[in-house]
């Protein structure tokens, strides 16, 4: 369905880190990098699609308009998307809709974050109607959920903490030379094992940090790309932002209980996201050259590999041990270094995944280049039934 595709003309990022500045600064840097990469004048952009987080949203600073003003009001149409970890993908989906409907030809998609130190925490006050308040009151943090999934893998499939450490070692190897990564250090199994336990069986080196960072895309209609001599630009072939299907099979943040599956079959949300994307792109898991997945924890990367159907259920640790998910292997996963090397910058992260796929498909990824990459897929999931998968091809 090539008529539903759009072109990625330019990508740009502000390096991830803890820089202590405004999210606007990072966003402008990423937007200008993407404009330069695309060879596009800012004043030619017809639609600005911002990805927001509640920290950087109302009051005062709504993502799309905030970046449009910082870059210089020029009369473009504007949109802001808030969808937790999928904010960037929904902002991209808004741009795609505008382009495919013929309302615009050229759009900027942008997400940026400034994060607090330590655990992401709920809003203040006694609010028992908010599941986020209830779970923190009980002492259930984000790593609790990642650890429950990790332990479940150990019990069901025989995964070990050494397997989880191997994910960290692989991703740290990938991100070592990535100029946009925050953590550029090769880790050893001994270093992972020596890091403090956070939520058994996960140690500090198994769990991702939160970071400042920004990512931006310049996207256009295929016709526009042809007219400017960029017919060979990577294309967005699918954006899946489906909701879960009742009843939930897995306990999800921030819930204290799953849905009851008495009257309806239980469904995995994570598995549903790529399934819709494969269908939309008209491709299957065998067509995929590389994947950028949301490794909020090392063990979660293994769940995603199975949800993306890159191997059978329960086989991801074996795939990892075989070396297949390393750059140079059959199906590299997180060649950017993933969240292990970046840390999570919520509204920017889904777009950062698309930036990496774009560099990989253009053959510009340097030491982490996946040779001959033609199809890349992303996966992420966050709070409140939000998640996304994007397919990029060339």
């Amino acid at each position: 369905m090539s008529s539903k595709d759009i072109a990625i003309l330019g990508v740009g990022m502000h390096p991830w880190g803890k820089w202590g500045r405004s999210f606007i600064d990072y966003g402008v840097a990423a937007a200008r990098a993407a404009l330069r990469d695309a060879g596009v004048d800012w004043r030619a952009v017809q639609f600005v699609s911002g990805a927001a987080t509640i920290r950087n949203g109302y009051p005062g600073q709504v993502a799309g308009a905030t970046f449009a003003q910082a870059l210089g009001w020029q009369g473009a149409q504007v949109n802001t998307s808030y969808a937790a970890c999928a904010s960037g993908s929904q902002a991209l989906a808004a741009a795609r809709s505008k382009i495919l409907s013929g309302e615009c030809e050229l759009a900027l998609v942008i997400g940026s974050d400034t994060t607090p130190k330590g655990f992401l925490t709920p809003a203040k006050g006694e609010r028992p109607d908010d599941p986020d308040w209830v779970r923190f009151r009980l002492g259930i943090t984000n790593p609790t959920y990642f650890a429950l999934y990790a332990r479940r893998r150990m019990a069901l499939y025989g995964d070990t903490v050494d397997d989880f450490a191997l994910v960290k070692i692989k991703n740290s190897e990938h991100g070592f030379g990535n100029p946009n990564a925050r953590y550029r250090k090769r880790f050893t199994a001994a270093e992972v094992a020596a890091s403090p336990m956070v939520a058994n069986p996960l140690r500090l080196m198994d769990v991702c940090a939160t970071s400042d960072g920004a990512a931006a895309l310049i996207v256009s209609s295929l016709d526009y790309a042809r007219r400017v001599g960029r017919a060979d630009a990577p294309q967005v072939a699918a954006i899946s932002t489906v909701t879960p299907t009742f009843a939930s099979a897995i306990i999800e943040m921030p819930d204290i209980a799953t849905d009851s599956a008495v009257a309806a079959e239980a469904h995995s949300f994570r598995a549903a996201l790529p399934a819709k994307a494969y269908e939309e792109a008209g491709i299957g898991p065998r067509d995929v050259s590389l994947a950028e997945v949301y490794d909020l924890s090392t063990a979660l990367e293994l769940d995603w590999i199975e949800d993306l159907q890159l191997c059978g259920r329960g086989e991801a640790a074996a795939l990892l041990r075989s070396g297949a998910t390393r750059v140079g292997g059959r199906i590299p996963v997180n060649p950017s270094g993933g969240l292990a090397c970046f840390g999570e910058a919520v509204p920017a992260q889904a777009l950062a995944q698309v930036c990496e796929l774009t560099w990989q498909l253009r053959g510009q990824a340097g030491a982490r280049q996946v040779n001959g990459a033609t199809v890349g897929i992303t996966a992420n999931q966050g709070l409140f039934g939000h998640g996304s998968t994007v397919v990029v091809k060339r």
Binding site: A147, F246, T258, S260
Partner: protein
């Protein structure tokens, strides 16, 4: 030690009767879907438009789906003893309700004592204390 007032950390989420402790849930009278926390507004099963619910005591026992612990002090609104004491957390699958419910594990039971698939039972125990109050919560405990 002075007398402290005891109260549930959340009103109406759990109770104790002659048979023991249980979570207070709801059941849609149209399709039978259970809810915890309880609710009385509308059924979330997309095939059901039920708006009538009956209050039910959820199963006191279930199988351990998975478990972990909190090695670091969680942020507010968690109320920690000083110093913080690590505690285990369980996800327990209730067979009749076909639902997984999270909860802290009782004091003194470490992750080493837990195994996926083992039988767990619900108890009521102190979650947190202030100088004047003791807050109670549901917790999971290996069943005897």
């Amino acid at each position: 030690m002075s007398e402290k007032t005891e109260r549930p950390f959340l009103e109406g989420w759990f109770a104790r009767d002659e048979a023991g402790a249980h979570l207070v849930g709801a059941r849609c009278t149209s399709c039978g879907t259970y809810y915890f926390p309880s609710q009385s507004r509308f059924c979330r099963n997309p095939a059901c438009d039920g708006e009538q619910f009956e209050e039910v005591a959820l199963s006191r026992r279930g199988r351990l789906w998975s478990y972990t612990n909190a090695c670091y002090q969680p942020p507010e609104p968690f109320i920690s003893p000083d110093p913080f004491v690590p505690f285990a957390i369980a996800a327990v699958e209730l067979e009749r309700e076909r639902m997984i419910v999270l909860g802290p594990v009782v004091q003194g039971v470490d992750v080493d004592a837990l195994q996926v698939g083992m039988s767990m039972e619900l108890v009521i125990e102190t979650l947190s204390e202030t100088p004047t109050e003791r807050h109670l919560a549901w917790k999971w405990k290996p069943a005897v």
